[in-house]
């Protein structure tokens, strides 16, 4: 049974002592997937949910999506129970894994989602066309889902999640299986949605992407929330570092000597290099230019 508590008005997600246990089968003991967890997430922010496999990320997302009833504690999403009917449109959940009904075309699948969240056909059609274009799927819109690559399925799944213009997006591994361009596109879209006021909670193993996009990070381990804060807070060591470039070797040696003389420590001196994504994009661009269309 779900228990409701009055959340803070600004909270997108509010949980108190939220607990989820799975009953063991046969002689196996019960498994506690989420130990009592307190959580308040503000609206309009992008929050990353990090943790190793089995740490409870997906369980937490499924509870927030209304798919799993907590065994203890209370939870409210956008001020209401996660299972309330209105949440189907106000909260979007993008589960990990393949899409249902692989014989449907991408457009049919989005139309099915639009109908399920009670969008009128005309509105749904407009939004479907928009999101197919925005997520670069318009060329494959009339192909069966079974023929989609993993990346295309991910992007279509995101399009389905965005169809109802939800206030809260719960995303489970939104960029796993995507190529760098696909990931970049998804990140852009999520930034746009957050800028428009939507709240995003995304579980991910892509640490660089989380670092790039998230305002805040939750770190889970074995069903417990073990760290929480902004990246600046979590990644700060208390030390300050000096980063420079454009000096020749002699000048670098002088700087190193000065650092040591003042009691500092030179950890490493490395050649400046470009970001791997920039290299990837440049090479892909060269390939596009070289091959006839």
């Amino acid at each position: 049974m779900q228990i409701y508590h009055r959340p803070r008005m600004a909270s997108a997600i509010s949980a108190q002592q939220l607990t989820v246990s799975f009953r063991g089968r046969g002689r196996r003991p019960d498994v506690t997937a989420l130990h009592p967890l307190d959580l308040e997430l503000e609206r309009g922010r992008i929050t990353g949910l990090l943790g190793p496999n089995g740490s409870g990320k997906t369980t937490l997302l499924r509870v927030l999506a209304g798919l799993l009833e907590p065994t203890g504690g209370s939870v409210a999403v956008l001020g209401e129970l996660p299972t309330s009917t209105a949440m189907r449109q106000r909260v979007a959940f993008q589960p990990e894994g393949m899409l249902p009904m692989p014989v449907l075309t991408g457009r049919e699948f989005l139309a099915f989602v639009g109908a399920a969240i009670a969008l009128p056909n005309r509105v749904a059609d407009e939004r479907i066309a928009h999101w197919l274009r925005r997520l670069e799927l318009d060329g494959a819109a009339d192909r069966a889902l079974g023929g989609y690559s993993t990346g295309m399925q991910k992007r279509l799944n995101l399009a389905a999640a965005l169809l109802g213009e939800p206030e809260l997006l719960l995303l489970d591994e939104p960029t796993s299986g995507l190529d760098p361009f696909g990931s970049e596109l998804v990140m852009q879209v999520l930034r746009e949605r957050a800028a428009a006021g939507a709240t995003v909670l995304m579980a991910s193993h892509q640490l660089l992407e989380v670092e790039e996009i998230c305002d805040e990070v939750l770190v889970m381990h074995r069903g417990r929330l073990c760290a929480r804060g902004t990246l600046a807070e979590l990644l700060a060591t208390g030390d300050r570092a000096l980063v420079f470039r454009g000096l020749d070797d002699a000048a670098v040696d002088e700087v190193k000597a000065a650092v040591v003389a003042r009691g500092g420590e030179v950890l490493r001196v490395e050649r400046a290099r470009e970001h791997l994504f920039a290299l990837f994009r440049r090479l892909a661009q060269q390939g596009d230019d070289a091959s006839p269309r």
Binding site: T85, M101, A116, L119
Partner: protein
């Protein structure tokens, strides 16, 4: 308006898309191979029945299995089940609408098969209701000639046109000589036709000019095979005729019962089992309830091919008659019960 985009519309399109061509081909095969009626309607019906059943079973099997395979909530562990469960959070998670769509698709295809096929293979153009005749005293016609006739009574005030018998035959004391029977009314022979019975459950029809009737007799005219006429084994055919298309539409409804049972139990099975298990359950139930005569489908088809009106008294016939209601009602109830239980049982969830 979101019509046609939900589970009902999707499943309906899926079933029609998959089943139309195979059903059409099976119908053409049935039309090509089914023997045509040549005077004796009962023999012709028996010969044509397997061929006519082929496209009907084809439509039923494809619609039910396509539905179980298409809608993710008919099995555990299907891709995207979480998404569908969230979008359709009611108790059956869209399963009820998917089943309704499968039945509508099957009904459309079955109607499209039966309406042209029945006249094409020479099925009777009209259907007549049947009334069970009641034996006045004895129901056994011994093979030794000690009793020469059996008397039957039918409801008064109606006009009849034929008597159908389906007796049980016993072992003859002497050598086997088929027992020959004549039909007599209150005022002499009703039919000049004589029938010879030498085995159990042979079906014979004795026709006569339409006339009001109250009593009739089956008169033995030689032979050594003892014949037993249990209740329901002698029926008379009313003269009032109904169009065969109406009878075909009733048959369509009867043919939906096995599919309803199979999908209802498939829905329940899907709460805990994976797709191969659910598909096996659905296919097995459909086969047993359609071809295996667990339900009324096979006998209803036979009756339509014989020109018997399905809404007649045979609807309630018992024992040998195997009435539509008697055999169909359990399927309907079990299907309903399965759906109800499925709606109350939470899917078994893996962590």
């Amino acid at each position: 308006m979101t019509k046609g985009r939900g589970p009902f519309g999707l499943v309906l399109r899926r079933c029609l898309g998959l089943a139309t061509l195979p059903t059409l081909l099976a119908t053409l095969l049935a039309w090509w191979l089914a023997p045509r009626s040549e005077g004796e309607p009962l023999a012709a019906a028996a010969a044509a029945e397997p061929w006519v059943a082929l496209p009907l079973l084809c439509a039923a099997a494809i619609c039910t299995l396509a539905t179980a395979g298409f809608w993710p909530m008919f099995a555990q562990g299907r891709p995207g089940a979480d998404m569908v469960r969230r979008l359709h959070p009611r108790r059956l998670q869209g399963g009820g609408r998917a089943i309704a769509a499968a039945l509508v698709a099957q009904a459309l295809l079955t109607t499209a098969v039966l309406l042209p096929l029945l006249p094409a293979i020479g099925a009777p153009a009209k259907a007549n209701a049947q009334v069970t005749a009641t034996a006045d005293r004895d129901v056994l016609l011994p093979g030794d000639g000690s009793v020469g006739e059996l008397a039957f009574t039918v409801p008064a005030g109606r006009t009849y046109r034929a008597v159908t018998i389906r007796p049980l035959a016993g072992a003859p004391a002497d050598g086997l000589v088929p027992t020959r029977l004549h039909l007599h009314g209150d005022d002499g022979a009703l039919s000049e036709h004589e029938i010879a019975v030498d085995d159990s459950l042979q079906v014979f029809q004795l026709r006569f000019a339409p006339r009001p009737l109250r009593h009739f007799r089956l008169v033995r005219n030689g032979g050594t095979v003892p014949l037993l006429f249990p209740p329901g084994s002698v029926t008379v055919q009313l003269d009032a005729a109904h169009p065969t298309w109406a009878n075909a539409l009733l048959l369509v409804l009867v043919l939906l019962l096995p599919s309803w049972l199979a999908l209802g139990l498939g829905c329940l099975c899907g709460r805990a089992a994976a797709l191969p298990t659910t598909a096996t359950v659905v296919a097995a139930l459909l086969f047993v309830a359609t071809v295996g005569e667990l339900g009324p489908a096979a006998s209803a088809l036979r009756r339509v091919l014989r020109g018997e009106w399905l809404l007649g008294e045979s609807l309630f016939a018992s024992l040998t008659g195997g009435g539509v209601l008697r055999t169909g009602l359990p399927l309907l109830l079990v299907g309903c019960a399965a759906m109800f239980v499925a709606s109350r049982v939470q899917p078994w969830r893996r962590r």
